[in-house]
Structures are given as C-alpha cells and as structure tokens.
Amino acid sequence: MADLAAAPPRAEPGWSIGWGDAGPFLALAALIAIGFLVNPDFLSANNIANVVTRSAFIAIIAIGATFVISSGGLDLSVGSMAAFITGVMILFMNWVAPSVGTAAIPLGMAVALVTGIACGLMNGAIVTLGRIEPFIATLGTMGIFRALITYMSDGGTVAIDRSLRDAYRPVYFGDVLGVPIPILVSLAVALVAAYVLYRTRYGRRCVAVGANEDVARYSGISVARVRTMAFVIQGACVAIAAICYVPRLGAATPTTGLLWELQVITAVVIGGTALRGGRGRIWGTVAGAVILEFIANLMVLSDFVSEYLVAAVQGVIIIIAMLIQRMSKR
C-alpha cells in the first residue's frame, strides 16, 4: 500500500527543475527592476560593478557552503574562519616582508590557502570522526576562530604592512578589461565548483550523501570522506575569499566576518540548494549572494529602511526562502 501511496508523481519533473533553477535568477531580475524604479542610479554601471564586486567574497564562501550543505552538513564557522585566515595571512606577510619584499604576497596567499584547508579539515574531522552534529561542531570552531583572531589582534587590529599595501591593492581594486578581479575570481571558482558538483564522481557522491546517507553507505560510498572533503572545499573557498578581501579591509579585526555565516547560508538557500542536503545549485548560490548585496545596496540608496537593519532583512529573507522551499515540496 505504501508503495502505491508514494508512487504518484508529485510534480512534473520539468516543472520543478525549471522553478528550482530559474527561481533565484527571476528574483534577481525582479530586484534589479525594483531597484531601477526606486533609484535610477541603481542601474549605473558603476553601482552594478560595485555591488557585484562586494558580493564576490560572500559568493565564493557560499559556493563552498553549497558543497557542505548539499552533502547534508552545515558550517557556521565561515565568518570567524575568514577573520582568522585573514589574521594569519597578514601576520605571516608582515613577518616575511622585510626579507622577501613583495614576494610575501604570493607566499601569504599560499599560507592562507593552507590555513583554510586545515580549518576545513578540522571541521570535517570533528563532524565525521567525532560524530558530532555539524551545527554543534562548527558552532564550537566558530567560537575558537573568533577567539583566536581576537587574541592575535590583542583586541585591536592586525594591519597589513605599509610596504605591501600598494602591491596587494589590485587584487581587490584592479580589473581585467574593465571587469573587477574579485568578480573574475568568483566566476572562476563558480565554474570549477559547478564542474566538480555536477560533472565529477565526487559531486555525485556529495549529493548522494546529502540525499540519503544510508543509500550512500550501502552503495559503498565513504560518507565520512565525502563529508570531510566538503568541509575542506569550504575551507579553501573561505581562504580564497579572504585573499580577495585583504586589500579592501587592510586589516583583520575581532569583528571581521561577523555574521557572514548568516549571509552565506542565506545565499545558498535562496539559490535553491536544499538545506537538508541532496540538492546543490552553484549558480543559484552565486545569484543568491548577488541578491543579498543588491538588497543591502537598495537599502542604502533608498531611504525606506535604515541600513543598520540589513542583517534583519537578511534574516527575514532566509526564513522566507525556507518557507518557499517547504511549500514547493508539497
């Protein structure tokens, strides 16, 4: 009986796919239209480039989060991890700058990447080897990373050495053929990520683990390895974002990356990735990150809502996005 009751198709596959994939882009288009009506400056090339550039680091981190979430995990530590990686990277660059000069920058980037991967590995190991809920495990590491950056900066700032500042500047403020570098970096990350998630064995395993851990296990997939790998990808993405972000900030402080986890998870969810796992949408996540930044920008450009309420609006958006996901199930 259960067979038959479960059998009737819930929705035509074509319909649900079209919606799930197009939804965030339609929302983005609608938002741009609204933005134009509210303030024509919104559509100026300058403003658009500015907004998309600023959305880039959330987009890059959220791409990593798409892997973690579609594999059935969750990473709350990304914001403080970004701050921690930034701090480690700046301290390292400042330390080697006197002896190697501007070569400190690529070395610093490598250190950032290694640190990010190590942080992700730690999160993954706690979740899989320690068998601790991802929510709790990364809540713990979130506190640890935040405390470490506060400790490293002694409660103040870890500023990049003046000798490196100008040389590093183009990584955030530069452009290639008029396209800002952070946008290019996030596009490159998204392309690679989309390939990995949709077109590799790992991507298949990642989604399978998130969809049904038992099916994955019985199919001979090492659930722990797949989950850990997702956290490692997340760590690498956070590192790439931090690398892009350093010139804009110029320093790491105890408040760097505060509440980024909210923006990141919101971007992933409005992008169409299932928060319970089993479905990942890389380009949707990118659209989600851009949507968030557009909304914040709109709040600044218009005078309807105080920009101090940006996080509140983002909080509302994630709740609404979850309600939409729930309703589109039935």
């Binding site: 009737p8 399978a208 049904n212 099916v215 199919s219 001979g220 997939i221 089993g278």
Partner: protein, 526 residues
C-alpha cells in the same frame, strides 16, 4: 464506556452462520491520489462466522481492513450494517458501531502498564479522577478472557511479544463487539504462540461474533475459516466456501495461476566447491555464532522470522554494522570487508531489503541511481562520462525490463517492482560473482516477481552464486537449492531437496525444540 468482558453478541440474530450479515460491503473501492488500490470489493460477514481474507502483499487486504474499520473512507461503494447503510467518519465511529480492529503491528505504549494501555483514551473515572482499581479489575478480567497471564500492573515494555499481542487483543475487545477484524494477528508470533490465539478466535466465533481474519498463513486459514475471500491486485477474485479449499488451491487463486509456474524450472547444474565460507559470525544483539557455506552456482536460502538476524548477518559481513567473525573465506582465502565498497571489489553484491530507505535515492534520476555504487567503474576519470552512463541506463532498462514513463523520471516515481529491478541493475553493475538478495520481491507484483526469480536463476546458470534472504517461505522453496533457517540469531536447521517444505521451514523458524539439525530429502539436483 462500560468495560464488559470480552464481546457479548448483542445482535438478536446471532444464531450462527447463515443468518443476516452483520456487516456487508458493496462494491467498495479506494484510490490514493488517482491510483486505484482497491476496486469493486463486495463481501459480507455473518454472526458466528470466521471469514478469511487472503491475498499477496499489495493485494489490498490492509486497505480493505482500514475501510471496514473506519480508518479510511471508501472512494466508491457502501457499507451496510444490519441491512442499513452506514458510513464511518473515523475509527471511533466504527468502534461505536461495534467493529474492533486488531492491528497487525503492535501499537502499545511500552512505557505504560498493561492496564493503562488497555484503557488509553477511555479511562474510567470522573471529575478528573481515575478509577484505577476499577480499570485494573476490568483489565484483569479482560486478560483472563484472552488467556494472557501477565499482571495488569506490568509494564508493556517488559512483557513478551506474544503477550503484547494478547494485550492488544484484550484492548480491542474491551467493550461490546459484533465484528472483530484480525489483521495478520499471527505475523509476529512464533509457532507455539499461535495456537492459543487461534483458540481465542474460535471462542469469539462460538459466541456469535462475526470475525474477519486476514492472513497469508494459509494453513491457519484452512483451520479456522468458514468462508474465504481472495484478493488479487486490489480486485476480488471471489468468495469461496472453506470446505474443500486446500492451501494449494488458495495460493493458486491468490497468484492467479498455478503457482508452481511462478518459479523458473530447476535446471540441473553443477554446484561446485565453496565460494564463501563464514565461520562463527557474531553480530552483537542479532547474530550468535552463525556459520554457513555458499557453493559456486548455488542458490542458498535464508529463512526465518523478521528479526531472526538474517539481514544483520550480512550487514555485519559488509562492514555496515559492528560484527566479528571466526573466519571469512572467499574462494578459500581469508577475507575481511570494512565497507560495502571492499566487498563489491571482492565480488560480493548486496541488495538491501529496504529499497526506499537504503537502496535508491528516490528524488534522483535513474542514471545517477544506477551508477551510484559503481562510480569508479563507470567513470574511470574523476569527471563523469554522461554518454556512457546514458548507454548503461538504456541497457539496464532493456535487460531488466524496467518500465518507465520518461527517461527523466525520478526513482521514486517508479513502481515497487521497477524500483527493485533498478536496484538489481545497480548492484549488478559491479558484476558481483556472489549476490546476496535480501527480500527480493517484497511488495512487488506477480509479474515482476516472476521476472526476478528468472533473473536469479540465470545468475547461477552463469556460474555466479546467490544467497536469498526471504520471509516468504514459498519463494525460498520454489527458488533455492538449500535453505538455512534462522531463529533468534542462530541457524536452527538446514533443509534441502524434498525436505524443503513450508511446515519444515516454519517448524525450524519458530521452534527451538527443533535444534540444529540437517534435514535432507532426495537431493534435488543430484
């Protein structure tokens, strides 16, 4: 509610079989979301009669029971009680009309006492105070009626499965009942525990209660029933006088043909030396010191009740749950599998009994499901070879006869039988030389069953070896060369040749007195 002991017939017509029906169903039909599961069912139950309803899994027995007891409302058709039309809005209505359902599963709160369970939702007392003594006394009387010897104060979690079933019956019979529906009441009981239950049912009948008895244990039906209604694929085959209706005839009516032909003809083949030897397997809590040997080209059956430890044995072997082994030898060489992947690499495939929960990603398309267990084999590079995957799906659809509406379908949209074939194709993609199939045909229709049996037969003809775990005795008898019967985590008997009969399997599955023994008739393939 009053708490009269076991059902008193209140019908003035309770004169015995043949009088006016208490309950009559006329052309009942039920559809879920446009899918018809039951259509055109007409039957009646008379006072003092045991009316059995038989049919295969998925034939619609449980749906019929739920319609008659108010848990479901019919899509079409009508119910009549004492000649007057009646409609139930919920189970409470049916209970008020004197219809009790004894559920197939035991639905009791383990943390509560026997008395509390019996009176749950209809406690005695008033003004916010419970009359515990009255309830306990009534519960004791009720338990005595059904021959249950546990204390009314005992916690349900502490009493045996058989006693829980009796408590459940005592609970169902609390109050005044004219119709009692038993939905496979013996499914969870061992052989010894069945008889007292059947006695209670006969006692009820003698008091003029009308009894509807659902079972797929045909020997019980033969013993008890006055009339038998056969369901098949949601339709009614007919209602028959039980007189002269043999279990064999019932089975044929259930499957719609002479059921011998459901199984492929046995072919003489060489069953060679051992391919898989398991010695002294221990799976904590499930399997105690089990040893078995599978030979090349053999179909080895593993019979037993649900919970006998059969599934857990192989989950342990594949590293899916903690287990220890005295020795595992594959083709004579020591082997150890830490994961299903290692087992697959060594040539062992395992088809789970839980295809929806552990076998397939129901929300995923067919191709990713097909290749999930063989990703490295199908896609030698890290990148996916989607063209190759598409070809493999085409091939699987053709060779396993998977019926689908569109190539874009999700696994969850396939029927149970087609899901099972997809799962089979998935496991076979690793080309196992030893296949362990757990409940190969659970919940699937006859046509698919017979295809799966034929497939298993063709596997062994190719020189592969197969272990079939099944709770359907006929299936094992029809298919296997040899049957091991497990009971409570141990192997309780081995049957082969003519000794593979339902009564032998049942005896070893349920009775500890039949200690481990080897029963062999004329060798079937020698």
């Amino acid at each position: 509610m009053n708490a009269a002991p076991v059902s008193q017939p209140v019908s003035p017509m309770g004169a015995g079989p043949g009088s006016v029906p208490v309950l009559r169903a006329e052309r009942l039909a039920k559809a879920f979301g446009g899918v018809s599961v039951l259509s055109d069912i007409s039957l009646d139950i008379r006072p003092g009669e045991i009316h059995a309803v038989i049919g295969e899994n998925g034939a619609g027995k449980s749906t019929l029971m739920r319609l008659l007891s108010g848990y479901l409302r019919p899509s079409e058709g009508a119910l009549w009680m004492d000649g007057a039309p009646i409609a139930f809005q919920g189970p409470a209505d049916a209970q008020a009309a004197g219809i009790a359902l004894v559920h197939q599963e035991i639905l009791l709160a383990e943390a509560l006492s026997v008395t509390e369970n019996i009176f749950i939702g209809r406690e005695l007392g008033g003004f916010g105070r419970l009359d515990e003594r009255a309830m306990r006394e009534a519960a004791a009387a009720q338990l005595a009626e059904v021959g249950c010897k546990v204390s009314p104060r005992a916690r349900v979690g502490d009493i045996s499965l058989a006693n829980r079933q009796l408590v459940q019956i005592a609970k169902a019979l609390l109050g005044t009942h004219r119709v009692v529906i038993f939905d496979e009441p013996t499914a969870v009981l061992t052989h010894d525990e069945v008889d007292p239950l059947l006695d209670i049912i006969v006692k009820l009948k003698q008091r003029g209660v009308a009894i509807l008895y659902i079972s797929h244990r045909l020997d019980e039906v033969e013993r008890l029933a006055d009339r038998v209604t056969v369901l098949r694929d949601g339709r009614m085959v007919g209602t028959y006088d039980a007189e002269g209706l043999t279990p064999h005839r019932m089975a044929s009516l259930m499957v719609g043909r002479e059921f011998a032909s459901l199984y492929p003809a046995r072919v003489a083949r060489d069953i060679a030396g051992p391919v898989l030897e398991i010695a002294h397997a221990q799976v904590p809590g499930f399997v105690h010191d089990v040893s078995l040997t599978l030979h090349k080209g053999e179909i080895l059956g593993l019979a037993g009740m649900i919970g006998a430890g059969r599934t857990e044995l192989f989950e342990g072997l594949l590293g899916l749950r903690p287990a220890s082994f005295g020795a595992v030898r594959l083709y004579g060489k020591p082997a150890h599998f830490a994961s299903p992947a290692q087992a697959a690499a060594a040539g062992i495939g395992y088809l789970t009994e839980d295809r929806k929960g552990k076998g397939l990603l129901l929300g995923e398309r067919l191709a990713p499901n097909l290749t999930l267990a063989a990703l490295d084999r199908v896609h030698p590079l890290a990148g996916l070879d989607l063209a190759r995957e598409g070809q493999l799906l085409e091939r699987a659809v053709a060779s396993y006869d998977i019926r689908l509406r569109s190539r874009d379908a999700r696994a969850g949209q396939l029927s149970g039988g087609n899901q099972q074939k997809l799962l089979l194709a998935k496991v076979m993609l690793n080309e196992p030389s030893i296949l362990v199939i757990d409940e190969p045909t659970r919940g699937i229709d006859i046509a698919n069953k017979s295809q799966i049996y034929a497939f298993i037969q063709s596997l062994v003809r190719e020189g592969r070896s197969c272990i079939v775990i099944s709770s359907e005795m006929q299936e094992l008898i029809g298919l296997c060369d040899r049957i091991l019967v497990m009971r409570s985590g141990r192997i309780n008997g081995e049957l082969s040749g003519d000794a593979m009969t339902e009564s032998n399997v049942a005896l070893h599955a349920t009775s500890s007195s039949a200690a481990h023994e080897k029963t062999s008739g004329r060798n079937a393939h020698g």
